[in-house]
Symmetry: D2
Subunit: 285 residues, 4 copies
């Protein structure tokens, strides 16, 4: 296929995602980064009827996208404390059948997760290569944001969790050392075997807790986040925003250790893939 | 009592801790910060017979203590990857009957935990005010190191977990804003009701998982660490270094989600308190 | 006098400064920090007729002032590249007869200078203690923002320049180490003898280049900025915004090494002092 | 020529530089980064007779070189305040006939300058492409380390100083944004016409102060350093370490604004070039 048709497919996916999920009266919108997101911003500019709409970026690059579109970015930590984002749009590096995602190829995973959790719904737009049945099928590694001083110990712990060759991500520029995130932290890319879904665990395909060499998506995310030195893991799993809001509504705020309910959902409510043949495929929760 | 007798008690506690735990041939020693640690360094200088001994600090202030003692600090991330610290000495803000600790009054909790987990044993030296039966008895809050951009959402989540009035720590200097850690992160101080021990939960004094308003030490630490934006929690709980090493030896590296075994123990093997009357009291694992 | 009358004087100074300098149609306004600036923001809210007015803060604390006033801060580096601020309001720690200022008691000197240089005019509002004939009369030290790793060498160089006892500023919190700026740099406070004005040098009161122990304001600022490790100096000297714009207009962009013309003016065009007796005194360029 | 002969030439240059300048009894040695420096470290290990020798790195990558050679790095700011480095070895991106250098292709220019200024002598080792008669002959740009928030204003000021197309350096990784230095600052690469030497200015080839479009090396370095937001400039000019020490000895500490004497020399005392034909050429002060 030609580059043109890929770009057409990405634009079509972005347009359909905005058309089906964006409320023209929306006030606060989270915006990620990546080549597809440019089309999302374009579609939102056409659809929005709210002159007071505010765009919240997920990092340095995302802020540039917003500025270059002639819009004004509002810093995440300048939002009034009680404001939720109406919706957030972002890409992903891989998405499985249960809509779990790997994110962080662009080193922005932490702020992307903050924004997703603060949105009533997170809508994902990506190209066909990101559509897989299981995570770690095509995309090779889990990106993990770590404090620089903890790199050697986190590398050691990741090997103990079953990652054969976790590596510190560098900048590709001679003598410039490790890549730094917007928090001035480092990224470790850790390979694991393809991850089980919760359905796989229910079907007996593995324990999924690492003890038999298999990991279920959410379990691995939590095991890595618990490591001293890890700020955040590039796995988006658990509930989505609509589910999290539902549970909060019914049952009150404190649910023991179910932090997903407390912080908001991480998973997208829908993923729009621009396919190789120019069509758009959708996975919904 | 006089200031002099407090200082005598702190020196006595430091001397006894070094005498009972420090191997004169030790090669790598972790050193925390605080007024008592100065006496520990003094005692180690007298006891050590190893000219190649290396001191690993837990942060900026700790490094100053080592330099001022005429010794050479080695950065934690300059250690060869396979080297464990023979021992680490540090203070605490509060210690309970099960040797769980609150640390972070000095804003160094993250690197202190890294150092404790990499030591074969962590020995704690503190004054009598830190000796309590439960955490959050006298010391009012849990210190939590967070990414600056996530402060509003972490404050919100902490309230959902049951902390009434979590607060961002400031520098006390006009117009200078929040206190920054060695990672350039911020500290939130979160009050909770006094924490249950595992014995309390076993005795039915509460579920300890937050669902009935009670929190067991380790459960609260994990629930907070899971929040997006939290780098580390100022609770040292779970296993100590000797226990963690024992389990690793017996049963291999991967133990499902039991990250304590993978990363090393956080709790001290012994705590030496300089008492108000000049005596030394010891709590051992 | 009472606290009430001081506060009245500060409010009166702020009100007069806004009344005499703020164009109600202004689009971009720089806002500093400090207790007086709160009154400036209040006066601007009353005076502005432009619904699209944007406020650019000089740092973390300044951003809080803007948010707490119910306004939306725009980050300095989110401004379109060719936009100048119509005006900037900020305080000072000391002001001399030539309107040179010392700033940085609040550790925000670097971003305050960026904002001042990008404003068509900088208007200063302060209380009576800041009004002196020469700098370093009442305020004891020059604040200097330095890279952490360079602290020992910059301290050494400052002593060579004639500062008897330059000191690293700390947070006042036990064990928390040096104060960090918005750039995560440190502040050194360097005492010098009272500084000469350019009129003093013209009148033969000293060479003002350090060679005879005297320093003229602008010369000292440049000598310190040249030191390796110094990001910025808390001296605002040279031209003001109106003067810099005039010179640019007449003579083109490149003026050899006269960086003040290239970057914009640092000095205020006017300073409004809230006096001890409740009156307002003004110094103008 | 073959890769092998280039590597032979670089090793030969390193060996000769160490042989002619390294005192086997040296106690403190600064070590830069780059492919040639590996050979310098190798030669020093063979030559040194001092078991207490200490190596001071110029940044993250340089520290890795030292660790991988089995040596122990000492942080620059862990040095006792009154200690000078006996010698420092580092590379350069371009060297002119007066031994002025451009450095910073590897983004470490700031700490490299700190280390050079603190060394009694700085010895440079490089390959033949770095040997030119004037700076900016083959190497296209001056690397400048700037505070992230000041990028737009510094870019604007650089254009006013005569740089046609200054650019923010990025990481080459998609979505990862600007490259960050060891200080978490950004790098701007600014092209200028080839720079005059002081001999060129003496010979009337241009004013060298920017007013006629020509810049002498040291003048341009100072003009850029004066810009608000610039931490350091990748030009090493002025005196070398031996010259600076001589002037300090003769004439006392304070020399008006001659900061080079106060901080130490930046220029190398000698540069060793590994040539294309496998030979070594040397430029000496």
């Amino acid at each position: 296929m030609t580059d043109t048709s890929i770009e057409s497919a990405k634009r079509a996916a972005a347009t359909q995602a905005v058309s089906e999920h964006f409320d023209p009266a929306a006030t606060h919108v989270g915006i990620g980064s990546g080549t597809t997101i440019v089309y999302v911003v374009e579609a939102i500019k056409n659809a929005s009827t709210n002159p007071h709409i505010r765009f919240v970026p997920t990092g340095y690059q995302s802020r540039q996208v917003i500025v270059e579109a002639g819009l004004t970015p509002i810093a995440f930590d300048s939002l009034p404390p009680d404001v939720m984002l109406d919706i957030a749009f972002d890409g992903a590096d891989e998405v499985d059948e249960e809509l779990n995602c790997i994110k962080g190829g662009g080193a922005c995973l932490f702020q992307e997760k903050l924004v997703a959790e603060r949105a009533r719904k997170f809508v994902c737009v990506a190209d066909y290569r990101k559509k897989q049945s299981r995570l770690l099928t095509f995309w090779p590694t889990i990106p993990i944001e770590v404090a620089p001083i903890a790199v050697p110990t986190v590398l050691h712990s990741l090997r103990s969790l079953g990652s054969s060759t976790p590596k510190l991500r560098t900048t590709l520029l001679a003598k410039s050392g490790p890549l730094k995130t917007d928090q001035d932290f480092f990224i470790i890319d850790a390979p694991f075997p393809p991850l089980l879904t919760t359905a796989d665990v229910a079907a007996g395909k593995g324990k999924g807790d690492g003890s038999d060499g298999t990991w279920e998506v959410g379990n691995l995310s939590q095991a890595i986040k618990r490591l001293t030195g890890v700020l955040e893991v590039g796995i988006f799993s658990g509930l989505n925003g609509v589910q999290a809001e539902g549970l909060r509504g019914e049952e009150g705020d404190v649910k023991g250790r179910d932090v997903t309910i407390i912080t908001g959902g991480q998973k997208p409510v829908a993923v729009y893939f621009g396919m190789q043949d120019g069509s758009v495929e959708v996975r919904k929760a």
